[in-house]
């Protein structure tokens, strides 16, 4: 048995890919659920109901998807150019830091001014975090996987220091948390009385903008060329390092927006549990979407639905909500495996 490259990628397979990955992951998780003594039919039903069954559940899923769209886009845009940004978590937190530094009263601006100012500031913060590893990569050839990954820990400790020090809310009863952003900085809710906020609209707009850049803009073309074959891109006269720098600013900025949107749309202040690993989950979201910007929206909603659904299910059925992690992981693994089969086929000899 051996693998043989296919001359072309059949479109039917590309379409069936996410479907079959999902199906395989459902089957695997059903087996796990049976092992824990529950009925897979009931558990999956509860998950779907918990994620999509009611208006409340569906809006909750979209709320959870919002930061994942940002971090998913951040990973997708970087991975396209083969810039392996594993530091979405750090960029998210610095985006949030910029938001609370400027948004808790330092800039007494009206909302129509303050919201875009904070948005840009958060993007700049996130972009700055990725600028350093990218500079080290292009100038000295330092592997960005290592630098971006390790920066996550450095940045989170740095944020912890800020929250115990200069950014600590004096009326926070000693908890390591920042002051709340002022009312003008907060994003409006999309549905009265629910948690879904304007950040979701910004996330969709960002996905559309990236799609446009990818399809039409010179920058999108350059990023793809650099990602596929940097040597040929250099030979053709495409400034590879400049393109990587632009990619880094875009990617870091998008991850920074995740921090901005969580603080101003949902939490109101910055704490160390702002992100339960949105930066890392963004990588999964991007891979599930095959790095396509619009696919990221769909895959972010899927991943969010699995997590929200599993939370609801575990309260009723008593199956641990860790099943969500398994489900997402199995989906990703089967997706990546299936992706290989669109490029290769098995031959029995």
């Amino acid at each position: 048995m051996r693998l043989e490259p296919r001359p072309y990628q059949p479109w039917l397979l590309l379409f069936l890919l996410p479907v079959s990955a999902l199906a395989f992951s459902v089957i695997t998780c059903s087996a796990l659920v049976m092992l824990s003594g529950a009925s897979p039919y009931q558990v999956l039903g509860l998950m779907v109901k918990g994620a999509m069954g009611t208006q409340f559940a569906f809006l909750e899923t979209l709320t959870r998807a919002t930061p994942l769209i940002f971090t998913g886009l951040a990973a997708a845009v970087a991975f396209r150019a083969k810039l392996w940004n594993i530091g979405g978590e750090a960029q998210l937190y610095i985006g949030a830091v910029m938001t609370v530094v400027l948004g808790t009263g330092l800039l007494p601006l009206p909302a129509p001014l303050l919201v875009p100012v904070l948005l840009v500031a958060a993007m700049m913060g996130g972009a700055l975090v990725l600028a350093l590893p990218t500079f080290l990569k292009t100038r000295f050839g330092v592997d960005e996987v290592v630098t971006t990954l390790l920066l996550n820990f450095i940045v989170i400790l740095f944020v912890s220091m800020l929250l115990e020090g200069v950014l600590k809310d004096p009326s926070g009863l000693g908890w390591p948390q920042s002051k709340k952003v002022i009312a003008e900085a907060q994003l409006p809710k999309l549905v009265q009385g629910k948690r879904l906020h304007f950040g979701f609209v910004v996330a969709i707009a960002a996905a559309l903008a990236l799609w446009l850049i990818d399809r039409r803009a010179a920058l999108g073309y350059e990023m793809r060329a650099v990602g596929y074959n940097a040597k040929a891109a250099h030979y053709a006269g495409i400034p590879v390092n400049v393109v990587l720098a632009k990619t880094a600013l875009l990617s870091g900025g998008l991850a920074g927006l995740a921090g901005w949107s969580e603080v101003t749309g949902l939490k109101g202040n910055l704490t160390l549990d702002l992100s339960p690993g949105f930066g890392y989950t963004g990588i999964v979201v991007a891979m599930l979407a095959l790095l396509h910007p619009l696919g990221v929206v769909a895959s972010a909603i899927f991943v969010a639905a699995v997590f929200v659904g599993a939370d609801a299910m575990s309260r009723t059925a008593g199956v641990p909500s860790y099943i969500a992690q398994v489900m997402v992981a199995v989906s990703l693994l089967s997706m990546v495996t299936a992706l290989m089969f669109t490029r290769f086929r098995l031959r029995w000899s």
């Binding site: 043989e4 001359p7 072309y8 039409r216 803009a217 010179a218 920058l219 073309y221 793809r224 060329a225 596929y228 074959n229 040597k231 040929a232 891109a233 250099h234 030979y235 053709a236 006269g237 495409i238």
Partner: protein, 516 residues
């Protein structure tokens, strides 16, 4: 030298009906071939004709779908390289398989001794290597470290390695690719001594002159089939070429024409990085002139191409294109001044395999007014540009949106030609433009270069193929260890002298020594 009785001697090696299919490609299709004792058999064919597959089957790397191999009357078990070695088959690869940091002795004995033996018998091995060297005229110091040897000497080590393992049938795969003409002639002399001592040789090549010079008999493969066997006596070069390609080949010919002002001038260019450094290169290429650069691979030709192509900044010296100094050397700068660049490696540098034809043809020009408005690419215009190239240059492809990876080497090269020639360039930089192409595509590329010359472009042609250089160039220069000789007009070029310069002799003074 030709030996018409060779075919009547008992065969030492017999291939019967060898067939091998990869997917839909018939790499070998019922090939039957016999090698007589004491014979040098040429195996001639274009790239992809099936020569390498056949030899890999013989050596046990592949298993044939059908057919059998007999050596000295005994059937060779398929798919066992060890059995092939034991039966006395020795292979000398085109790319040497030597450990550079070990001595000649270590390289030759490597793998011939049992791992369990505590002490290797180096003294005996040394005696044997010297003995073999004397017998076959391959003398070499067994204690020299391979990294200090010249390419020709390394090849000797490869051959000694096979002889040390008592090879009776020697297979040489494109052995002259890295040799100067003199070294090649010496190799042929050595091969003749081998067959006098009873060895048999299969000589694989796609170069007709070498087959004629070295072999007794030639077998010609085309598209996986054995199409002809000829005795070298009484066969002509043209006949061989026609059989190999399957049709008559028109030869591109350079008509004499007036040379205009210099379109490219290099003034004391030095550049480097890595093993070779360009040192003080001076060169002028006039309008309507082809200047050929000869040299054994790895003597700075790639660096020269990088500098002229704008991919590498020189650390000193000036480059003038069309009489103007290029201040900030970059790919965009030279392309903007009208340089058409045909890169050495189509896959790594010329094209992006995973992108479409449309995306590839605009890679040098997408920034221009023609395709770009407000940062957005006009894909409609790009697509019609690609369609025009596909039509004008007869690129065989499913369509402009097809991935470039799917194209054959010849069609990739046509695509590159279309991309760079469409702008009516002032200077064409062609680095190994026909490497790995079949004869039809080679002729096409040559015609395109000559057409550009007729239109008045200057052409810098870098090639390791002397025949190609001498057929096309108005003047020829030689590169050796990063230095360049003074270019000589084609009618004054003498192959002997060119070969000497490629080996590093008589380069410093640059004077014309009449060797004849």
């Amino acid at each position: 030298m030709a030996n018409s009785t060779a075919g009547e001697r008992p065969a030492v090696l017999r291939l019967q009906g060898i067939s091998k299919t990869f997917g839909t490609l018939k790499a070998n299709d019922g090939i039957s071939l016999a090698l007589a004792g004491g014979e040098i058999l040429g195996l001639l064919g274009e790239n992809g004709a099936g020569k390498t597959t056949l030899m890999n089957i013989l050596f046990g790397h592949y298993v044939a779908d059908a057919g059998s191999i007999e050596i000295g009357g005994k059937v060779l078990p398929p798919g066992e390289p060890k059995a092939a070695l034991a039966a006395g088959i020795g292979m000398v690869h085109q790319h040497f398989t030597l450990a550079e940091n070990l001595t000649v002795l270590d390289n030759i004995t490597l793998g011939t001794e049992s791992l369990l033996r505590m002490r290797s018998n180096r003294a005996a091995a040394r005696v044997r290597i010297n003995q073999l060297g004397n017998d076959f005229g391959l003398s070499i110091n067994p204690d020299a470290v391979v990294s200090t040897l010249s390419v020709g000497e390394r090849q000797r080590v490869e051959i000694l390695k096979a002889l040390y393992r008592e090879a009776r049938i020697l297979i040489l795969d494109e052995p002259t690719a890295v040799l100067t003409p003199q070294e090649s002639a010496a190799l042929f002399e050595t091969l003749r001594r081998f067959v006098d001592k009873g060895l048999s040789i299969i000589f694989i090549s796609h170069k007709l002159n070498e087959i004629l010079a070295a072999c007794h008999r030639v077998a010609i493969l085309r598209a996986g089939r054995l199409v002809a066997e000829r005795s070298i006596a009484g066969v002509s070069r043209n006949e061989l070429a026609e059989i190999m390609v399957g049709r008559a080949i028109p030869q591109a010919k350079a008509e004499p024409q007036a040379v205009g002002a210099a379109v490219l001038s290099l003034r004391a260019i030095s550049a480097g990085g890595g093993r070779v450094t360009l040192r003080g290169i001076n060169l002028d290429v006039g309008a309507g002139e082809i200047v050929g650069i000869a040299g054994v691979s790895g003597n700075g030709q790639a660096l020269l191409a990088d500098v002229v192509g704008g991919v590498r900044k020189p650390f000193s010296g000036n480059m003038l294109i069309d009489g103007e100094v290029v201040k900030n050397v970059s790919a965009r700068a030279v392309v903007a001044r009208g340089v058409a660049r045909i890169p050495e490696d189509r896959h790594a540098e010329g094209l992006i395999g995973d992108m479409s034809i449309v995306e590839n043809v605009i890679s040098e020009s997408y920034r221009g007014r023609r395709f770009l408005r407000l940062g957005m690419i006009d894909w409609g215009k790009a697509k019609s540009f690609a369609a025009a190239i596909i039509h004008d240059y007869a690129v065989k492809c499913p369509g402009p949106d097809a991935r470039v990876r799917l194209l054959s080497g010849g069609n990739m090269q046509k695509l590159i030609l279309g991309r760079v020639m469409a702008q009516t360039p002032k200077l064409v930089l062609a680095n190994q433009p026909t490497r790995g192409l079949d004869v039809g595509a080679v002729v096409y590329v040559h015609e395109q270069l000559l057409e550009a010359r007729r239109r008045g472009a200057g052409i810098l042609l870098i090639s390791e193929d002397l025949d190609e250089l001498l057929a096309l160039s108005d003047r020829v220069a030689v590169m050796f260890r990063g230095e360049m000789s003074v270019p000589v007009a084609r009618d004054k070029v003498n192959i002997q002298e060119l070969g000497l310069m490629m080996a590093g002799h008589g380069l410093a003074d640059g004077t014309h020594v009449d060797a004849a």
